[in-house]
Structures are given as structure tokens and as C-alpha cells.
């Protein structure tokens, strides 16, 4: 208790709308250095928008994001690029560059940032691929890889520049359960070996409990609760309980209940 931790990323009062849709309505989130924060929430709750605000892909309408104390939402592109060098991001579907080989993808950040020779880049790429459990894939094209492999290559690409902060957009979604757990393990390893701060967004609760030091729930554009996995499991908030238990009934209305009433053949007979 009371261990002083620096705040690595601080989102303050973020608002963002697209068209008439108010996606983020005053999001506040603090992520401490070295911690693994998991943001959970329903589909369309704004998790991806939040993570894109953090890395500057989306500018918030209101509010500010502080990375190592520096406010980023009004930086120009050049300065934003400098800040981005602290980040590595794993996209939901990998977002690998399909015109390049695996090693060219993994080494991409190195080529354009640190002026290394091709041979050296390929070596580092192999190293990072080994860290994510892949061998002999360097010369393949992304189209030749399975979904799980693509995610791992994408992770290798994100860590190649040895960033301080890793962002994971739905890391286990769309992957078979065994591979999903392998990815959970990788995320934990990244934290331990590389000492990164990480933010993962997911709706996979098993993954969230496993990889998160703290979990935050995004609901209707706001963070309604933050806590350790234990605290979240015991949360008295019915909204949280409905989500983590995965029940279709409860305060969160994803499906209009009146649509679920299907007229039975019995009643139709009566009408005749």
C-alpha cells in the first residue's frame, strides 16, 4: 500500500462524437507505469476509439490525454510522431502490410526510425519472432499465415522497437481458445520481460482476469469502475455483474426485449 507509482498515461474528461453518436462522454482513466490495464465494455462502447485517442489516431473533441505528463491532443503531426515512438500497437486483425514479407513487417519500425542495415534488421526481426514463438516464417507473406500467426507477427512488429507502452486491440478475439491463452501468456511475458505499461481492450473476461493488474469498464461513454480483477469480480454494480457474467438480461440493454417475443404456432391456431 502506498507505493509511489508514476502515472504513465492519463485520460482526462475525454469526449468524442462521430456524426450524432456520442461515443466517449467524459472518460477518465489513469494508467500507472508498468501496469497492465484492461478496458472492458460491450461492442460499440467506444473501447477502440479510446485506444485510438491514446495513440493519437483520433483527436478527442474535448478533454486531454497525458503521456508521461505531456498533453498530446493538440500536438502537430511531427511531434505526435515522436510521442508515438514510445508506443507499440497490436491491431485486432493484425494490420500487417500485405505487400511485405513477415520480417519486413516486423522490422518496419526499425528501418524508418533507427537507420540500421538490412542484415541487422532481419536479425532483430527473427529475435522478436522467436519471442512470440515463431520460427522460420521470416520470408513468408502475411497472406500465407493463419489468424493466430498473424496476431503474433503483429505483436512482434509492435515490440520490435522496444516501446515503453503497448496497446492491444482485442488481442484474443477471433482466435481459438488454445491460441488465445498462448497470447495471454505472451502479453504477461511482455510485461515481465520488457517492463512495458500496457493497455488492452477486450470483451474476453477470461483474458482480462489473466492479464490485467487492473480492469476498467467502459459503459455508455464513461469509465464506471476501475479495480483489480478480484475487486471487479466482487463489484456490487449490477451493470458490471451483468457484463462479466455474460447475461443477456440486466441493466445493459443490447437487444430490445420486445423483439424476443416470437408468436407461437399455438396462438396462430387460435386466431383461425
Amino acid at each position: 500500500m502506498g507505493r509511489e507509482s508514476t502515472i504513465k498515461i492519463n485520460a482526462v474528461n475525454l469526449h468524442k462524437s462521430f456524426g450524432g453518436n456520442n461515443v466517449l462522454r467524459g472518460v477518465n482513466l489513469e494508467v500507472r507505469e508498468g501496469e497492465s490495464m484492461v478496458v472492458i465494455g460491450g461492442s460499440g462502447s467506444g473501447k477502440t476509439v479510446l485506444i485510438k485517442c491514446i495513440i493519437g489516431l483520433v483527436r478527442p473533441d474535448e478533454g486531454e490525454i497525458y503521456v508521461d505528463g505531456l498533453g498530446i491532443s493538440s500536438l502537430n503531426e511531427r511531434r505526435m510522431n515522436e510521442v508515438r515512438k514510445k508506443f507499440g500497437m497490436l491491431f485486432q486483425w493484425g494490420a500487417l502490410f500485405d505487400s511485405m514479407t513477415v520480417w519486413e513487417n516486423v522490422g518496419f519500425g526499425l528501418r524508418y526510425q533507427k537507420n540500421l542495415g538490412t542484415g541487422e534488421i532481419k536479425e532483430i526481426a527473427s529475435e522478436k519472432l522467436a519471442l512470440v514463438g515463431l520460427k522460420n516464417v521470416e520470408d513468408l507473406m502475411p497472406a500465407d499465415l493463419s489468424g493466430g500467426m498473424r496476431k503474433r507477427v503483429s505483436l512482434a512488429r509492435a515490440i520490435a522497437i522496444e516501446p515503453e507502452i503497448l496497446l492491444y486491440d482485442e488481442p484474443t478475439t477471433g482466435i481459438d481458445p488454445i491460441m488465445a491463452d498462448a497470447i495471454n501468456e505472451l502479453i504477461i511475458q511482455m510485461k515481465e520481460k520488457l517492463q512495458v505499461t500496457s493497455i488492452a481492450i477486450t470483451h474476453d473476461m477470461k483474458s482480462a482476469y489473466k492479464i490485467g493488474d487492473r480492469i476498467a469498464m467502459l459503459y455508455q461513454g464513461e469509465i464506471i469502475e476501475v479495480g483489480t480483477p478480484e475487486e471487479i469480480k466482487r463489484s456490487p454494480n449490477p451493470i458490471i455483474q451483468q457484463f462479466i457474467e455474460g447475461k443477456s438480461e440486466g441493466p445493459i440493454k443490447m437487444v430490445d426485449p420486445s423483439l424476443l417475443i416470437i408468436p407461437s404456432r399455438h396462438t396462430r391456431h387460435e386466431e383461425r
Binding site: 508515438r84 515512438k85 508506443f87 491491431f91 485486432q92 494490420a95 518496419f108
Partner: protein, 210 residues
């Protein structure tokens, strides 16, 4: 540059050849009505270098290369590859668009030079072999009235058309949204808008010269 130029070469050459040929045929038969059939060589040369070379090459390339660029960039956009570039501290405009822009602007005039030559040759073949014109007279007529400005205006047009194709197609691809349908729409718009822009700017550039 290889993608834009070398791969477009066959399409452009076929277009140029047949255009030159039909131009000669039409001019001959048309001019014969008032006895001006000896002017065919000149007409072909001027038309091809000033107009048909640059414009038709531009349209063919816009269809071939413009659609490819829009599709490529559009696919990258909807699969988050462009976002990925940002996260790797790379400016996608410098990395993706500038090279395509330069390649197209440089290669199009080169293609048009070849197109001009083939077009004129096509006209020659039709006139001399099929319509029975005298080769010496025809050749002389072709070159006599051809001025530097004819060729130069054509090449300048090609340069602008190249820039137009690249700009419009890359922009469409870059702003594609919404999956495969978005990419398809971006591709179509790229070709249609580039073609229109070529035809419209063609008029204004011509006004500048003549």
C-alpha cells in the same frame, strides 16, 4: 514506376496504334469529299501529338493504374494498415502517396512519347499500305507542319494528367471507409473522377497553348 509504366505499356501501345489507324482512315475518307486527302499525314501527326496521344493514354492509364492505386490504398485503409503506419511513426502520405505521385507524373509523358510514335506509324501504315498514298509525300506531309509546341503541349498535358490520376486515385483510396464495398466505391470514383478531370483540364491546357 515499373508498375505504372511498364505494365501499362501494352495497353497504351494498342490504343495508340488503332487510334492512329482509324484516324488516318477517317481523315482520308472524309477529306476525299472535298479533295483534301493529301492532308491526312499532317492531320494524323497534329491530332495524335496534341490530343489523342496524351488524352487517350491518360484515360487508359487512369483506368488501369488509377483503379489499382485506389484499390490498394483503399484496402490498406479498411484493414487498418494505414493506422498501423501512423503507430509506427511513419507518415503514410510521404510513404505511400508521394512515390506514386512522382512515378505517375514522370512515366506518363514517357508513355505518351511512345504512343505518339506508334499512333503516327499506325496512320502511316493505313495510308500507305491500304489507302495507297505515296510514302514519300505522306512522310513529308507528316513532318512539315509539325511544330515543337504540338509535341510539347502533349507532353505537358501528360505530366499534368499523371499528377491528376495519382492525386485523385490516392485520395479516394485513402478515404475509403467500410470494408470491401468501400474499396469498390473508391476504385470506381477514382477512375471516373480522374477521367473527367483529364478531359476538363485537357481543354484548359489546350487554351494555354493555342
Amino acid at each position: 514506376m515499373q508498375e505504372v509504366g511498364v505494365r501499362s505499356f501494352p495497353v497504351v501501345m494498342i490504343t495508340a496504334a488503332f487510334t492512329g489507324m482509324v484516324l488516318a482512315l477517317q481523315s482520308f475518307t472524309g477529306f476525299k469529299r472535298f479533295g483534301a486527302e493529301t492532308m491526312v499525314g499532317t492531320v494524323v501527326a497534329l491530332s495524335v501529338t496534341r490530343e489523342l496521344g496524351p488524352v487517350l493514354t491518360g484515360l487508359m492509364v487512369s483506368g488501369r493504374v488509377g483503379s489499382a492505386m485506389a484499390a490498394e490504398l483503399g484496402t490498406m485503409r479498411v484493414t487498418e494498415q494505414i493506422d498501423a503506419l501512423y503507430t509506427l511513426a511513419t507518415n503514410p502520405i510521404n510513404y505511400l502517396i508521394v512515390p506514386r505521385f512522382l512515378a505517375t507524373a514522370i512515366v506518363l509523358p514517357i508513355l505518351v512519347i511512345f504512343a505518339d510514335v506508334i499512333g503516327i506509324l499506325g496512320g502511316y501504315l493505313v495510308s500507305v499500305q491500304i489507302l495507297g498514298a505515296n510514302p514519300t509525300f505522306y512522310t513529308r506531309r507528316t513532318w512539315n507542319y509539325l511544330e515543337f509546341n504540338d509535341l510539347f503541349s502533349g507532353l505537358l498535358k501528360a505530366f499534368f494528367f499523371g499528377m491528376i490520376i495519382a492525386t485523385i486515385s490516392c485520395y479516394q483510396g485513402f478515404s475509403a471507409r467500410g470494408g470491401a464495398e468501400g474499396v469498390g466505391q473508391a476504385t470506381t470514383k477514382a477512375v471516373v473522377l480522374s477521367s473527367l478531370a483529364i478531359l476538363i483540364s485537357n481543354y484548359f491546357i489546350t487554351v494555354l497553348f493555342f
